[in-house]
Symmetry: C2
Subunit: 505 residues, 2 copies
């Protein structure tokens, strides 16, 4: 066990180095260094892959009696181990099994296809030319199906793909919760569309980046983001990255004519970052440190971004300070107006710009299409039409160009199938956890209104963060809320909030 932990620590050390290579490339790397950086990244990835699939790990797992039936190791052989150590065995067994099951030829072909298809996609999107991307997408789906076969599955080849991002989650369970969600969201979006639109014109005035940044740091400080264990930088697309357990960096981008963009990116990424920063002492610096699934990761970012950052109480506390920085832009704007402004809902074509209500519908569309593609129930050539059909059904609008539709996301060109649903699962987990938290901290809203977010963080840390990957998403849901994933909490939250924002009925 000690040796396995030691190997894990070594792999984590190298992963942190890989994260630095990636972070630097997006932030400060000079333009012409890109080719050499790719070589550095490739060398590092193959070193980590080599370490992760070493024969020694296989032997250690065997010694501990870990196999598909006993992923946490053999009961009698592991009797002296802690719960975390057993979870560590499960984690390593899982990765080892997945990584060793893929034939080298497939890994290589996937990686080569991906790097080419990404540039084809970028050009196709720019030129609104789905046809040129079509053969690459077909090839990627073939390869992902082959991947699913290599991993193995019971009835749905989408399962093992989804499992890469949301371990142990089944396609059927996602279908169940998404179907509940859809039943409520579609009518809510319709009701909002038919009501009087809120005015958020004060958010599209001129907000200089430098001042936005200053306000961002103020918010990060109140959210207890430790700047001696992290950083905030500027990149084309915001992200969070783990260079070490004491080095979690987030990024944002500034739009000077739309205030929301950067602030909510910062809060969103800070949510991811606080999760990574909250690992327990028994898993810090080892493989269990890090989010247990993308869904749970997204639950943390969405909790801070939406449940906290888009709450009325958040603005009760922060509006005076924001108004002192932008007195002209926010002249006459009160807490009510600010709160309604940042919560404006509007069906739109682009997922990454969508609001809290319509966002999940964008995700559902992708999930439904991905499943059909992977199960050969939809041909790639018919994908654009199916996309537009889905948009009409879910959001009531249809894009005029594929660039604003089926070609908008980079994910598929990178072979990421099974990734999208985790974005929506995050909203669901987040609301479900929050519902329990409010019972544990009855005066949480009063605390927020006074700028005190420490107990929220402490609660998340106690129940979620400290465990890292030692509890699966399903285990967290059961342990915290006593039931599996349930869409009801998110739907209730949206219905109640937006009834007020839009003065429905």
């Amino acid at each position: 066990m000690d040796r396995l932990l030691e190997i894990g620590k070594d792999i984590k050390t190298w992963s942190g180095i890989g994260a630095l290579l990636g972070w630097d490339q997006e932030t400060y790397m000079p333009e012409k260094a890109v080719d050499e950086r790719s070589r550095q990244q490739a060398a590092l990835s193959s070193l980590v892959h080599e370490k992760m699939t070493s024969g020694e790990i296989g032997e250690l797992l065997e010694d501990l009696g870990a196999d598909d039936d006993n992923p946490m190791g053999d009961e009698s052989r592991c009797a002296d181990l802690s719960r975390t150590e057993r979870a560590f065995i499960r984690y390593v067994h899982r990765s080892y099994r997945k990584e060793t099951r893929l034939p080298g030829r497939l890994v290589k072909e996937l990686s080569e296809t991906r790097s080419k298809s990404q540039s084809v996609w970028a050009k196709a999107r720019q030129e609104n030319d789905f046809k040129s991307f079509q053969p690459w997408l077909e090839k990627l789906i073939d390869l992902k199906l082959e991947t699913a076969e290599a991993y193995g599955y019971d009835d749905n080849p989408y399962d093992p793909l989804l499992d890469d991002y949301e371990p142990d989650m089944k396609t059927s369970e996602v279908q169940r919760v998404f179907s509940d969600l859809k039943a409520d969201l579609v009518p809510l979006v319709k009701a909002i569309a038919e009501s009087k639109q809120v005015d958020n014109s004060f958010l599209t005035k001129h907000y200089p980046a430098k001042l936005q940044e200053e306000f961002g740091y103020k918010v990060l400080e109140k959210l207890n983001y430790p700047m001696d264990r992290g950083r905030l930088d500027v990149t084309a697309h915001p992200f969070t990255t783990e260079l070490g357990s004491d080095d979690i960096r987030i990024t944002t981008r500034y739009m000077e004519d739309f205030f929301n963009s950067s602030l909510y990116s910062i809060i969103h990424e800070a949510g991811h970052g606080l999760y990574e920063l909250g690992m327990g002492d028994d898993i810090r610096g080892n493989l269990l440190a890090g989010g247990t699934s993308l869904g749970i990761h997204e639950s943390q970012s969405r909790t801070w971004e939406n449940l906290v950052g888009r709450s009325r109480e958040f603005w009760e506390y922060f509006l005076p300070s924001l108004k002192s920085m932008f007195p002209e832009n926010l002249d006459g704007v009160d807490v009510e107006a600010m709160w309604r402004g940042v919560n404006k809902v509007e069906p739109s074509f682009i997922r990454v710009e969508a609001d809290e209500v319509t966002y999940s519908l964008h995700v559902m569309l992708r999930f439904e299409l991905e499943q059909k593609l992977i199960n050969r129930k939809l041909a790639v050539k018919d994908l654009p039409e199916a996309w537009n059909e889905g948009m009409r059904e879910l959001l009531g609008i249809v894009p005029e160009r594929d660039s604003d539709g089926v070609l908008q996301d980079v994910h598929w060109s990178f072979g990421l199938f099974g990734y999208f649903p985790t974005y929506a699962l995050g909203n669901l987990y987040g609301s479900q956890f929050w519902n329990t938290m409010v019972k544990d901290i009855p005066d949480v809203y009063t605390q927020m209104a006074s700028g005190d977010f420490t107990r929220i963080l402490a609660w998340l840390r106690e129940h979620i963060h400290q465990y890292g990957s030692s509890k699966t998403a399903g285990e967290l849901a059961m342990d915290i809320t006593g039931e599996p994933l349930n869409a009801r909490y998110f739907v209730d939250y949206l219905n109640s909030k937006y009834k007020t924002v839009y003065k429905l009925d």
Copy 2:
């Protein structure tokens, strides 16, 4: 040969990653990440060491017939190889031999002693307490002597240590040139000290960092530093680092009450950077890319800093632009006054703050003491007294505290013996090369005065940069100037320049 080149490329890739770890630590890394960064650095260093000392390299060198008598490989076996490939064999053979000759126990003991002695030194300097550092310095000298024994040497154990930084240079040759240098410098410093001091008070007015930075970028642009292949950042101590052949980053620090500090750091580091950026196509991205010795590296930084940046012509071109940025500070300052101001000479205690004339004397003092220490001709306990005695002889001043004397530099606490002389060798090589360049480009001063530095760079690239480590310092001197290292050129330059600056005779 192909396989050896491939291994070299792989090692270079990993070295670039190591450089990024170091750069990030000095620039942007959050404070508390320091322990994990040390682990990352250690993992990377041991990987590179492992690769550099692999049995496969030993076998390949043997196949090529490379040994101490044939460092460039066996004539007949290497008949088809290019000059660069033969130099590559020499480089790898040299590193392999050195790295494999040190017993693992010694490497470990050195590394542990170093990391502890550095913090002891830092405290000792702060508290002006040489006694507490003394046992650590004694231990380090024991270990360096052991290192010298392991490397092997003919008559002077200082030779193999010097060789780590200045390959193939012998202690006796340094003694020869330093003795020539000393004979001329000491009277020059004395003559200057007795003449009327120049006024540089306009350089100690308030120069806001932001504006200094802006001017720094202007200068970098004119010096043809390609910002798409490098960066300029701020660190506590300025440095240059090679993350890849297209990614050479330099740093500086800003002192708002002394204009010289940052500008000349930027030009100095740019000199190092332009060298690294100028590698020929046949060595880019492989082990020969990089400076051939610290002395040659320093010749490039000093050439740009002093021969170019402290020339009258440099200020003929740049003064108007600087005056437009700082009109009040530089009111009434003409080219003559500016030129004399940036060339002020004054004996002082601290090496890193020394001017162009006294600098080499600081280095000579350290060189003389190091040699005596390594040859057991001076006991560590008597070092402070020997230091002060040397200061009196060379510079005519004696520090009141060891913190301003023998304790000022970090080098010895890090086990760097043989490193200091390269700082002064750089000045000598620089002037010797410049003397030839002026014959090749007779109107070089007119070009500089018009802000055209392209032909200087092209000349340095053609004769020095492109070769990287494929020519040794000695080979460069012979090939370019037709003679070995000669102190005369530097002495002539100083005598003629400072006669004018100080209106001597």
